[in-house]
Symmetry: C2
Subunit: 148 residues, 2 copies
C-alpha cells in the first residue's frame, strides 16, 4: 500500500476499508471493561431496554472503526494521529453485523506555523452489511508533507 503525504490528498478522495464482523462475545467483552451497562452485556436485559436487543457500545464501534482505518482504510504516511472529531451513532450495531468504513477527504489545510505538516479533515462513515450508517465520524488528522 502506498502511504500518503499531505501533497497526495485531494478533496473528495475516498478510501474503503476491509470489513470486520462483530459478534455477541466481542460486544460483551468490550462492555465489561469500558461500558458495563445491561443493554451491552446481556441479551435478556437488552431486550427490555431502549435498544430492544443486544447492541454494541458506541465506543466499541468507534474503536473498530479506528482499527479498520489503521489496517489500510486510511493510508496516511507515519500513521493516523487524530486531534479530535465529531461523532454520531445513528443506528445500533448488533451481533453479526459486518462493519466497513468509507472515508472521504473534506478539507486539506497546510499548517501556517509548522511547514512540515498540515491537517486533513476526513469524514468516515461506518456501515453495516445492509449499507446502513452506524457511525459518522468527522475527524481532523495530522498529515506530514513529503520529506524533501
Amino acid at each position: 500500500m502506498n502511504e500518503l503525504y499531505l501533497e497526495d490528498f485531494i478533496v473528495g478522495q475516498r478510501f474503503l476499508s476491509e470489513t470486520h464482523r462483530i459478534d455477541a462475545d466481542q460486544i460483551k467483552v468490550f462492555a465489561q471493561r469500558f461500558d458495563p451497562q445491561p443493554f451491552h452485556l446481556d441479551e435478556v436485559a437488552a431486550q427490555a431496554s431502549f435498544f430492544h436487543g443486544l447492541a454494541a457500545s458506541g465506543w466499541h464501534t468507534a474503536s473498530i472503526t479506528m482499527s479498520l482505518m489503521v489496517k489500510g482504510g486510511m493510508p496516511i504516511a507515519g500513521g493516523l494521529i487524530g486531534a479530535g472529531g465529531e461523532l454520531q451513532w445513528p443506528k445500533p450495531v448488533r451481533p453479526g453485523d459486518v462493519l466497513q468504513v468509507e472515508s472521504e477527504v473534506l478539507e486539506i489545510k497546510p499548517s501556517r506555523s509548522k511547514p512540515e505538516r498540515g491537517m486533513v479533515t476526513v469524514k468516515s462513515v461506518t456501515r453495516n452489511q445492509n449499507g446502513e450508517d452506524v457511525q459518522i465520524l468527522t475527524s481532523r488528522m495530522l498529515v506530514w508533507k513529503r520529506p524533501s
Copy 2:
C-alpha cells in the same frame, strides 16, 4: 447513588467520577486490538514518533472516560445512551496517568415529539493527575422524564 431523570438536571450542574490509573500494559492491549500503531505498542518506536514516548490511543481514553461515567460519574436513570458528540484530545495519555472525569450540564432539551424523554448536552473533561485536560467530550445524552 440517586439516579437522575430529566427534571433533576440543571444547567451548570457538575459530576465528578472516580479515578482510573492507566499503565503500559493496558495501553498496548487496547492498541493491539483497536489501534495497532507503533506509538501505542512499543516504547522504543514511540520514543522516535510524534508522541516522544508511549501514548494511549485516543479511543482508549474515550473508552476509559465512558467507563468512569458509567461507574457513577454521570448518574442518569436507565443508563447512559449517547447520540453522538464532539471529541478533542489536547494532550497524550501516558503510562501511569491517573484519569478522572468531570462532567458539566450545558443544555437540557425536552423532546417535542416524544413527551417521555429529552436530550441533555454534557461537557465531560478527562484530566490526568496533574490536572491537565487529556480529553474534552461534548455529548448529547438521552434522558428519560420521571415516570408519573
